[in-house]
Symmetry: C2
Subunit: 496 residues, 2 copies
Amino acid sequence: MFESAELGHKIDKKAYAKTMPTLRADLLDVQYDLKQSGRFPVIILVNGIDGAGKGETVNLLNEWMDPRFIETYAFSEPTTEELERPALWRFWRALPPKGKIGILFGNWYADPILRHSLGKTKLAELEEHLFEINRFEKMLADEGALIFKFWFHLAKEAQKKRLKALEKDPTTRWRITADDWRGYRDYDARIEVSQHALRQTSQAYAPWIVVDGSDERYRAVTVGTILLESIRKRLAWEGDTTRRIASAPIVHPIDSSNLLNRLDLSRKIARKAYPGELEHWQGRLNLLSRHPRFRKLSLIVVFEGNDAAGKGGAIRRITSALDARQYRIVPVAAPSEEERAQPYLWRFWRRLPRLGRIAMFDRSWYGRVLVERVEAYCSEPDWMRAYAEINDFEEQITRAGAVVVKFWLAISAEEQLRRFKEREETRFKRFKITEDDWRNREKWPLYEQAVCHMVDRTSTEIAPWTLVEANDKNYARIKILKTLCERLETALRGKD
Amino acid sequence: MFESAELGHKIDKKAYAKTMPTLRADLLDVQYDLKQSGRFPVIILVNGIDGAGKGETVNLLNEWMDPRFIETYAFSEPTTEELERPALWRFWRALPPKGKIGILFGNWYADPILRHSLGKTKLAELEEHLFEINRFEKMLADEGALIFKFWFHLAKEAQKKRLKALEKDPTTRWRITADDWRGYRDYDARIEVSQHALRQTSQAYAPWIVVDGSDERYRAVTVGTILLESIRKRLAWEGDTTRRIASAPIVHPIDSSNLLNRLDLSRKIARKAYPGELEHWQGRLNLLSRHPRFRKLSLIVVFEGNDAAGKGGAIRRITSALDARQYRIVPVAAPSEEERAQPYLWRFWRRLPRLGRIAMFDRSWYGRVLVERVEAYCSEPDWMRAYAEINDFEEQITRAGAVVVKFWLAISAEEQLRRFKEREETRFKRFKITEDDWRNREKWPLYEQAVCHMVDRTSTEIAPWTLVEANDKNYARIKILKTLCERLETALRGKD
């Protein structure tokens, strides 16, 4: 894998002086075209051997191009805010928006490779990390990101020479730390782990590019040329990047029964029993939210359902059992401008709660496979891949300590009609029924199908869906409170 | 100040039952109107005596209104990311956008009052904090925010009784901590300091409202009614909140000399001397940026100047002396949707660098008193108050460790014309001259006036303006590098 990069590639001064000015001007041009188009972000990962010229090359790129539209991030110790979220959270925060270039040092490869070469993780853990990375990068690519993964390489002897040279020169001595020499001593182990990692994460949509780091001019021209040609090619391509993914056929059940029409929507709770039940479950939820071990987890609740199914009312029955300082409700509407310049899930990543806190999503990331699917706001390949992306997302947040509880509030078409009419008659303008609501109703069968697919594909052992029969609002509220309590009790036992 | 709130105000159950449903429905209505209008944010500060019902009242408000459009924040220990910024940074992060309600516990009053009552700060420090708070709140009010500052009060004996009662009840026992009893023991000192703080920060645009906390029903109805009436009143008022501030007359010098036309734009550096000078100052800047004590400060550089004055080129001469991992360039264009829903300075607060880092603003918060003033994008009162707000902002970031260096790059009208023409002829589309550029040229005298006012009002001992004669690009670049080095050297000496 690294053989070619140990040949000691070189470009002489003359050839460099000849190539460089054009390359530089072209890079600047292509960077402005990228910015102008605003079509996709460019993500450049910088990894490799210490002393192989990672920093120098990036500095050079910043010199050649317009540094105003490049954001360079170096990740070292995570901050306390980062430590309370999934490992990838800090990288989501640093993703460049469409039209910009983001350069990431010490990115998602650094920690898994380092920890495994120090013997701190088992092979299975490394592989799990790499698997997760693959899916993450696939998602980024599917969202249109152009991804470069540069590995700056040096043979062992060359590294030693380079470190010594840097140490000797008073202007670069500061750069060589004990860590660098430790890296050199562990060279063989690190190279082995790195090879493994590179092999398992090299993909057509995000290939590794190994660069011989021994010659300053060679590596600069190599990186510059690759960037130039790839960005140019992508800009020239008029096709929609998201359309390229062929999607599997959607399977419909042959008979007419499905998850929703099998629900017994006539379920009720006796009027008299309700106040007592409500008090009981709210009290229990309140106690759970104040449990000392609750500080080790976070609670993420997703509310989806038919229009007028009673999401708002259910949320308020939960919040009134909680302290306002502990929760945040995220009403999900159209994405903002900044959110539209990022991958679909970005706007949910940024709302992830810290440990000990609760976030309730009034509509959620499932919009992708519900309204966006039915209304064709996104393409079929987009929503088809969303199921897997969502499962990945929920796995990551679960692993970081979140308890994910998801509710679908189901009402019948007749009950919805009754509620719409009731709302139209009420004096409160807040219950205005819009044209959209009536339009959505006409698409009832399409939504039903989308909901069944969603549940089939995203109800997992770590984050199951709870279908809530909601024709009777009180029944629905109690079922929701009870489910939350039970899920929390299980989770708190697990934190023992 | 607290006398009325120690009378033991009460509402009996019957009166409460009669008032409550209407109040609740009205509050919900007014909240939807607020959201619909999107005209201003509502900021509710919650402070007061422990046990006086702060939390309960806020929970009740969340129950009465739609909690989806209320964000409640409780601030305790600052995170590492917060510790590396000015004290108010964490509160800027939590400001509600227009149309929403933000409830802030443990807000900007908590720390100054607590620290002073524990004897950790001198009176002068407390007063300085209060002074800063006053200016901060004035800015928020001027930006249109509706601010409520509730002080929940209890007399000393009443607090004792209340804490005991809470401790006795098994369902509330968890809420009483050692801190609460400590608060009780220090009651007199805290009350004295609080009175002082309340007195010095009660303003027409953000008055303190002291609420008798002894009766649950009384305090809820009081807070609810005040919110309802004030929000309603503000919504009914069609006037532009920002217009109400009368502005002082602008003073123009009687003769024709000003800061800009007194500059000697013929200043030059010899072509031969330039490369050596450049290398010298870049090397020096590089060393300074790697100084161990640099980690205790941050560097914030502001670039303003005439169109085509060479800001981009100057920035690149700086970045090429630095490591890309250390700096970020913030090109300032039109604010995003999320930024438009916040006070003017919000978008700059969110870009403040951590310690050890560098942020360069290619155009900046000074847009308010330059382009926005000249093009009338904001009203005269808006830009008139911006000078003081900017000075406050720079004082806060300076106090938190930032070195603020501000450059105005000045060229003559003739030189600009020459550069515009040159750009029009160049093959690079990136240098396209827009209609805007030509239009701005016609307003040269207005911009000149705006620049002079800006420098007069915002060139301070902590963040002085450097006017850069930029007809000769090389001269400008060296002057800028040199200024940066000198400012940094002084600052690093100060960190000894």
